[in-house]
């Protein structure tokens, strides 16, 4: 009887260890979890860089939104900029493209956009409050928001054309 108890406890312990180890494998320990998938996109009201007027997310309700957080000092953001320029022109009538610059200065941003193209509506998050509200954990990060205002998913890496096209096909369904 005692032997069965010991074997049972040993099996339970080994099962627990196997469960913990297999659960941990294949996961990036440095990856920051994201909890807003499927949740309503937090509203914001921040300054539009070209006109200086205040813009809120609610203004774009009823249309899918691609929301890109970026900064001029971020190399990967510069490399994905042409992809976003391409996407903003390609899906001009179906999707709203918004860029949110944070952890940066207005002057730097305007100079960058003058050099590299300004097809997206660019907004300036002066105190990074919108970035914190969206659970941003680095740059660049792109949020795909459905027409009913829910975050379908976020892409936390520089976009390429295929990823952007795939994300858009999911939010314009």
């Amino acid at each position: 009887m005692r032997r069965y108890v010991i074997v049972g406890i040993a099996l339970a312990t080994i099962s627990l260890l196997v469960w913990v180890i297999t659960g941990a494998f294949g996961k990036d320990p440095h990856a920051v979890p994201f909890m807003l998938n499927g949740k309503p996109a937090p509203n914001f009201t921040i300054k539009r860089l070209d006109t200086g007027e205040q813009v809120s997310l609610q203004q774009f309700a009823g249309k899918p939104v691609v929301l890109n957080f970026w900064a001029t000092w971020c190399g990967p953001c510069a490399s994905e900029h042409p992809v976003l320029e391409w996407g903003a022109k390609r899906w001009k009538d179906q999707v709203t493209f918004l860029g949110i610059v944070f952890e940066d200065s207005e002057d730097n941003t305007k100079q960058f956009l003058a050099r590299n193209g300004w097809s997206l509506t660019q907004l300036f998050d002066a105190k990074s409050t919108v970035a914190v509200d969206y659970g941003v954990a680095g740059v660049p990060e792109t949020y795909f928001i459905t027409r009913d205002g829910k975050i379908l998913f976020k892409y936390a890496a520089p976009l390429d054309q295929m990823t952007l096209a795939k994300g858009i096909s999911e939010i314009i369904k």
Partner: protein, 178 residues
């Protein structure tokens, strides 16, 4: 020497940089102490194992500003933690909560230690019992392999009760009595 230095300076001047941004002004002492205490419990997402109160990064400052804003609004500690957990999950907490599956983290090591101790105790008891049965002796009894007593008429020590059924020991005992 001058040329590489000049090249380095030009490269640095042309490369991008993240402008430093000052955080919000501290609140009143009591509220600011609370902000710092809460900030020490929240992990900086762009650092390595550092809280937002200890990180010099601009993003961490922005998050600490959010804590200030929520403290100013009169939110409770739990509501402030919930705000960050709802965005970054429990990963954001420097100390995991002691509820649900996390309880395994807190109780598991203690249970494993107790289990290990009980296994060691059980095995050592069993081993001692096996030694006693094999040699038919206890620590207080004389060693059977030791030389016989000096007196010729001295009787050998009585065998322990447990070994009475052992035919080998019975034979040895009979030979000694001859």
């Amino acid at each position: 020497m001058t040329a590489p230095l000049a090249l380095l300076l030009v490269t640095l001047a042309q490369s991008g940089y993240a402008p430093t941004r000052m955080g919000l002004a501290p609140l009143e002492q009591q509220q600011e102490e609370r902000v710092q205490r809460l900030g020490k419990q929240l992990r900086c997402p762009v650092c390595q194992g550092v809280s937002i109160a200890d990180s010099p990064s601009s993003m961490a400052r922005a998050q600490l500003d959010k804590v200030r804003e929520l403290v100013k609004e009169g939110k409770s500690d739990q509501e402030i933690y919930d705000f960050f957990v709802s965005r970054y999950g429990e990963w954001i907490l420097m100390e995991p909560t002691k509820a649900g599956l996390n309880a395994v983290l807190w109780v598991g090591p203690v249970l494993l230690l107790l289990f290990g101790i009980s296994v060691v105790v059980l095995l050592s008891r069993r081993q001692r019992g096996a030694v006693d049965v094999t040699f038919g002796t206890t620590a207080a009894e004389p060693n059977p392999s030791a030389p016989p007593p000096a007196h010729a008429d001295a009787k050998p020590a009585p065998a322990p009760a447990m070994a009475d059924d052992d035919p080998f020991l019975a034979q040895v005992r009979a030979d000694l009595e001859k």
